[in-house]
C-alpha cells in the first residue's frame, strides 16, 4: 500500500529529525548563560552553597554530561520537557495550555491566506499585462515586504484605537463571562485582526507563486491540446491550468509551515494572543531558557506534522505518486 509506506517513511524521518533537534536543544542548554541552579535558587530567594548543591542533585545537574543527555532525551520521549525555571511549572503543561489558541490562529490564517492567495494569483495570471493584474502583484509585493509586527501594530492603531471596530488584545473579553455562541462570537471578533495580519504575508507569497505557476502551466503543450479540442477558456483555466499549477503550491505550503510559526510569535506578541508564540516571547523576556527550548522543540514538531500532511495531500493530487512512479 503506497500510502502506508509513505506515512511510515515520513514518520521514520520525523523521528530522526526530532531526535536531532533534542540533541541540538540539549547542547544549547549547556551553552545558555548563567547557572541553572543559581537561577532556580534565585527564584527561591536563597542562594547559599548547600542549597545550590541540593538543587543540582535534585535536577541531576551534578551528573556527567552523557547522563544528563540521556535523562533529557528519555524525558522528552516521555513528553517530559522539564520545568520552567521561572514559573516552576512543567514546560509541557504550559505549552499544552497555550496550544489551542495557536492552532486556532495559525489554522485560520493558513486557510485564509491559501484561499485568498490562490484566488488573487489566478486573477493576476488571467490579467497579465493589464493594469488590474499589475495592481494585484504590486499589492502582493507590498504585503510581502511589510514587517508583520508593524502591520499588526498599525492595524491596532487603525481598527482598534481609531475606528474602534475590533478588540486589539487577548483571546476573549476578560470578565464578560460569555458562554456558548456568545463566547464563540467574542473569540471570532478577537481573532479577526491577528489572523488577518498573519495571513497577509502568506497570502502575498501564495499570490505570487500561484501567478507564476499558472503562467507556467498555461505555456504547457497540454493546454494547446485543450484549446485544439475547442474547450472554453474558463474550463481550460480551471481543469488544465489551475489543477496543474496547484501542485507546486502544495509543496510551497508545506515549506511555509515553519514561517507560519515565526509569524505567530510576532503576531501573538503584539495582540497578546495567549498561544505558544506569546509564551515564547514571555520566556524570552524572562530568559527562561528551558521553556524557550521546549517551545522551540514543540514548534518544530508541529511543522513536521504539517509537512507530513502536505506530503499526503500532494500524493493524493498527483497520480504519478499514487501509482508509485517517479
Amino acid at each position: 500500500m503506497v500510502y502506508a509506506r509513505l506515512i511510515l517513511m515520513r514518520l521514520f524521518k520525523a523521528v530522526i529529525v526530532l531526535f536531532l533537534i533534542v540533541i541540538f536543544n540539549f547542547l544549547l542548554i549547556q551553552l545558555a548563560p548563567g547557572d541553572p541552579a543559581a537561577i532556580l535558587a534565585g527564584q527561591a530567594g536563597a542562594a547559599d552553597q548547600e542549597f545550590l548543591n541540593q538543587l543540582r542533585e535534585r535536577f541531576g545537574l551534578d551528573q556527567p554530561m552523557y547522563v544528563q543527555l540521556w535523562r533529557y532525551v528519555s524525558g522528552i520521549a516521555m513528553l517530559d520537557f522539564g520545568y520552567s525555571y521561572r514559573l516552576g511549572v512543567p514546560v509541557f503543561d504550559l505549552i499544552m495550555a497555550r496550544l489551542p489558541a495557536t492552532l486556532l490562529l495559525t489554522g485560520t490564517a493558513f486557510v485564509l491566506s491559501l484561499v485568498l492567495g490562490i484566488v488573487a494569483g489566478s486573477m493576476a495570471a488571467a490579467r497579465v499585462k493589464k493594469p488590474s493584474g499589475s495592481l494585484i502583484m504590486a499589492l502582493a509585493l507590498v504585503f510581502y515586504a511589510t514587517p508583520l509586527f508593524w502591520v499588526a501594530l498599525m492595524s491596532v492603531v487603525v481598527f482598534s484605537v481609531y475606528l474602534g471596530w475590533l478588540p486589539a488584545y487577548g483571546l476573549y473579553t476578560v470578565g464578560a463571562g460569555h458562554t456558548g455562541f456568545a463566547l464563540a462570537l467574542d473569540i471570532a471578533k478577537h481573532l479577526v485582526l491577528p489572523a488577518t495580519t498573519l495571513a497577509l504575508f502568506f497570502m502575498a507569497i501564495y499570490t505570487r507563486m500561484t501567478r507564476t505557476s499558472m503562467l507556467d502551466a498555461a505555456q504547457q503543450d497540454y493546454v494547446k491540446t485543450a484549446r485544439a479540442k475547442g474547450l472554453k477558456p474558463s474550463i481550460i483555466q480551471r481543469r488544465h491550468v489551475l489543477r496543474n499549477a496547484l501542485l507546486p503550491i502544495i509543496t510551497l505550503a508545506g515549506l511555509q509551515a515553519g514561517q507560519m510559526v515565526g509569524g505567530a510569535i510576532l503576531t501573538e506578541t503584539v495582540f497578546a494572543w495567549p498561544g505558544i508564540g506569546r509564551l515564547m516571547f514571555e520566556a524570552l523576556e524572562q530568559r527562561d531558557y528551558n521553556l524557550l527550548l521546549g517551545i522551540f522543540f514543540f514548534s518544530a514538531a508541529l511543522v513536521i506534522v504539517f509537512n507530513i500532511i502536505t506530503d499526503l495531500v500532494y500524493s493524493l493530487a498527483d497520480p504519478r505518486i499514487k501509482k508509485g512512479a517517479a
Binding site: L8, D221, K224, T225, R227, G230, R239, N244
Partner: protein, 543 residues
C-alpha cells in the same frame, strides 16, 4: 495514392503572418497560398525556421502570443477563418478541424485520465451524456489500436508509451470526425518503428474516413511515404508546390533538389574494404545495469542497459551502432569514453584495458578517446570563447596556453570556420557551425578513437549532409577511427564501414554496411529497414 477529388476543403490565400518585434525576421510566412483538397494528404515540408507550422497554427487559431496574420485569408468551407471571432473559431476546433502535435509526452494533461481527456472533446461541443462519452472514447481507443483499451481508458498519460500517447492524441483529434486533420510533425519524437506504425495509422484512418490531412514535416522520407501533394517552404516562402510524385522525382527548385539530395540516400551503401589490421578497440562482454536507487521500503528498479556486448573496431574503421531508444547504444558509447563505469567486461584500446580505470589513472588516459556530442547548443560552454573551448584539453594535458590556442586556430581552419573564430563566443555560431567546433575540440587531443553520439541528429537535413561530408573528409585525411552512434540507419549507411544493430542492450546483428542493408539476417534488422520512411518510394536519384 487515392483519388483526390477536386473539391477544396481549405484554401490559404496570400497569407502573411507577422512575428513580434525583435524576432530574426519580420514575417514568419509571406505570400503563402495553397489548398487542401478533400481526401488528400497535403505535406508541408521545410527545415527549422521555414515557417511550415505557422499557417497550420493560424488555421487552428492557435498562433503564439504576439504573432498574427496581417494579410490574406484562410477559407474553410467558404468561411474566412481569419475574420472569425474567437468564439466562432472555437466552435470549429475539434469539431471540424482536429490537430495533433509533435511531443506526445507533454501534449496530454498529466493529472487527467486518458478517457476523461477524450471525453472532453465531446463535452466541448455539447455532444452526448457522460456515459456515452466514455463509450465513444473506448471505441476510439480501439480504433486507433491501443493495446488493452479497457485498461488504457482509465490510465494516466505517464502510464503509456510515447507511441501510445500519440495514438490517444489521434483518437482525440478524430473524435468528432473532423473534415480536416492537421498533424504537426506527429512522428518526429518517435522511434523509427513506432513512426512507421503511426504513419500507417494516419494513412489508414484518412482513407477510411475520407478526410483531408495537412501534414507538417521536415523529413522527405515521410513525405515520400504518405503525401498526395507537397508544399516545400523555406524562410517563410513557398519554393515548390505540386503533386508528390512529380516533386519527389523531378524537383524543379534548386532548394528542393538540394533537400532531396541531402536525404541520406536510399541507394545501397557503397562497398568498402574491411581492413584486416589488428583491432584498435576490442570490447569484450561489456555489461552495465542501471539501478534506480530504492529508498526505504521502496524496491530498486534495474535496467539492463548493456548485456554481454562484444565487438571490435579496426584502426581507420568507422563502426556504426544503430538502435532505437532504450537499445543501449548511447550507454555503450558513454562506456567507451568512460563517462559511464561499466559493471564488468573489458574495453581494450590498443591492448590497454580502460574499463576499470578510476581517478587520476583514468584522467591520464582520457585523451586517447574523445567524443562528438549530440546537441550543438549544450555542448559548448556559453561563457567560454571557442578557441579556449578547444584549447582546454591540450592545456589540461600540459600544453602551454599559447601553443594550445594556436593549434585551436589551425583546427578551426581545418573544420572550415577559419582561425579567426578563436576569439568568438559560441552564441555567434549556428547549430551546424557549433557541431564543427565540437569536432575540432574532439580532434584537439589527437585521439586514437572518436565516439560520435548522434552527432548529426539535431541538425537540419542540409546541414546534416555538410557535417557528414566534413567527417568523411577528415576520416580520409587523418585516418580517424570512429564509433558512430545513431538511431538513423540512413545516416549510418552513408558513413559507416560496418554496422552493429542493438536492441534491449544486446547486439542483434553486425556486419558490413552493405550486408546489413542488402541481406539482413535478423527479423529486427529487417523491421528497422522496413520502417525507414520513404524507403520503397520512388525518389529522385541522388548525385
Amino acid at each position: 495514392m487515392n483519388e483526390a477529388s477536386t473539391e477544396t476543403v481549405l484554401s490559404i490565400r496570400d497569407l502573411n503572418i507577422a512575428l513580434p518585434k525583435g524576432a530574426d525576421r519580420a514575417l514568419a510566412v509571406e505570400d503563402v497560398s495553397y489548398d487542401v483538397k478533400r481526401g488528400e494528404i497535403m505535406c508541408v515540408v521545410g527545415e527549422s525556421g521555414s515557417g511550415k507550422s505557422m499557417a497550420a497554427n493560424a488555421v487552428m487559431g492557435l498562433l503564439p502570443k504576439g504573432v498574427r496574420a496581417t494579410q490574406g485569408e484562410i477559407l474553410f468551407e467558404g468561411q474566412n477563418l481569419l475574420a472569425m471571432t474567437e468564439k466562432q473559431h472555437r466552435a470549429l476546433r475539434g469539431l471540424k478541424i482536429g490537430m495533433i502535435f509533435q511531443e506526445p509526452m507533454t501534449a496530454l494533461n498529466p493529472l487527467m485520465r486518458v478517457g476523461a481527456q477524450i471525453a472532453e472533446v465531446f463535452e466541448a461541443h455539447g455532444q452526448f451524456n457522460a456515459k456515452e462519452r466514455q463509450t465513444r472514447a473506448l471505441e476510439l481507443l480501439i480504433e486507433v489500436g491501443i493495446p488493452q483499451p479497457e485498461k488504457a481508458i482509465r490510465a494516466y498519460p505517464f502510464e503509456l508509451s510515447g507511441g501510445q500517447r500519440q495514438r490517444v492524441m489521434i483518437a482525440m483529434a478524430l473524435a468528432l470526425e473532423p473534415i480536416l486533420l492537421i498533424a504537426d510533425e506527429p512522428t518526429t519524437a518517435l522511434d523509427v518503428t513506432t513512426q512507421a506504425q503511426i504513419l500507417e495509422l494516419i494513412r489508414d484512418l484518412q482513407q477510411r474516413r475520407g478526410m483531408s490531412v495537412m501534414f507538417i514535416t521536415h523529413d522527405f522520407g515521410v513525405v515520400a511515404e504518405i503525401a498526395s501533394r507537397v508544399c516545400v517552404m523555406r524562410h517563410g516562402k513557398i519554393v515548390e508546390l505540386g503533386d508528390a510524385k512529380s516533386v519527389l522525382q523531378n524537383p524543379q527548385d534548386a532548394y528542393t533538389q538540394a533537400l532531396i539530395a541531402a536525404i541520406p540516400s536510399n541507394a545501397v551503401p557503397p562497398h568498402r574494404e574491411t581492413s584486416q589490421v589488428a583491432p584498435l578497440l576490442e570490447i569484450k562482454q561489456l555489461n552495465k545495469v542501471f539501478r534506480s536507487r530504492g529508498g526505504w521500503l521502496k524496491p530498486a528498479r534495474e535496467v539492463r542497459a548493456l548485456e554481454d556486448v562484444s565487438l571490435t573496431l579496426a584502426r581507420g574503421e568507422t563502426v556504426g551502432i544503430v538502435g532505437e531508444s532504450g537499445s543501449g547504444k548511447s550507454t555503450l558509447g558513454r562506456c567507451v569514453v568512460r563517462l559511464e563505469h561499466p559493471d564488468s567486461g573489458e574495453l581494450l584500446l590498443d591492448g590497454v584495458n580502460l574499463s576499470q580505470l578510476k581517478g587520476d589513472a583514468l584522467r591520464r588516459e582520457r585523451h586517447r578517446v574523445q567524443m562528438i556530442f549530440q546537441d550543438p547548443y549544450a555542448s559548448l560552454n556559453p561563457r567560454t570563447k571557442v578557441g579556449m573551448a578547444i584549447a582546454q584539453g591540450p592545456i589540461a594535458n600540459g600544453t602551454p596556453k599559447a601553443a594550445a590556442l594556436k593549434q585551436a586556430g589551425e583546427l578551426l581552419d581545418m573544420v572550415g570556420l577559419g582561425a579567426s573564430a578563436v576569439e568568438r563566443f559560441p552564441h555567434e555560431f549556428s547549430g551546424g557551425q557549433r557541431q564543427r567546433i565540437g569536432i575540432a575540440r574532439a580532434l584537439a587531443l589527437n585521439p586514437e578513437l572518436i565516439v560520435a553520439d548522434e552527432a548529426v541528429s539535431a541538425l537540419d537535413v542540409s546541414i546534416q549532409a555538410q557535417v557528414l561530408e566534413l567527417l568523411e573528409e577528415l576520416k580520409q585525411r587523418l585516418s580517424l577511427s570512429l564509433l558512430f552512434i545513431t538511431h538513423d540507419l540512413r545516416v549510418a549507411a552513408q558513413i559507416c564501414d560496418r554496422i552493429v544493430v542493438m536492441q534491449y542492450g544486446r547486439i542483434v546483428e553486425q556486419g558490413s554496411a552493405e550486408q546489413i542493408f542488402l541481406a539482413p539476417k535478423e527479423a529486427y534488422t529487417q523491421d528497422l529497414l522496413k520502417a525507414i520512411p520513404g524507403r520503397e518510394a520512388p525518389v529522385a536519384a541522388t548525385a
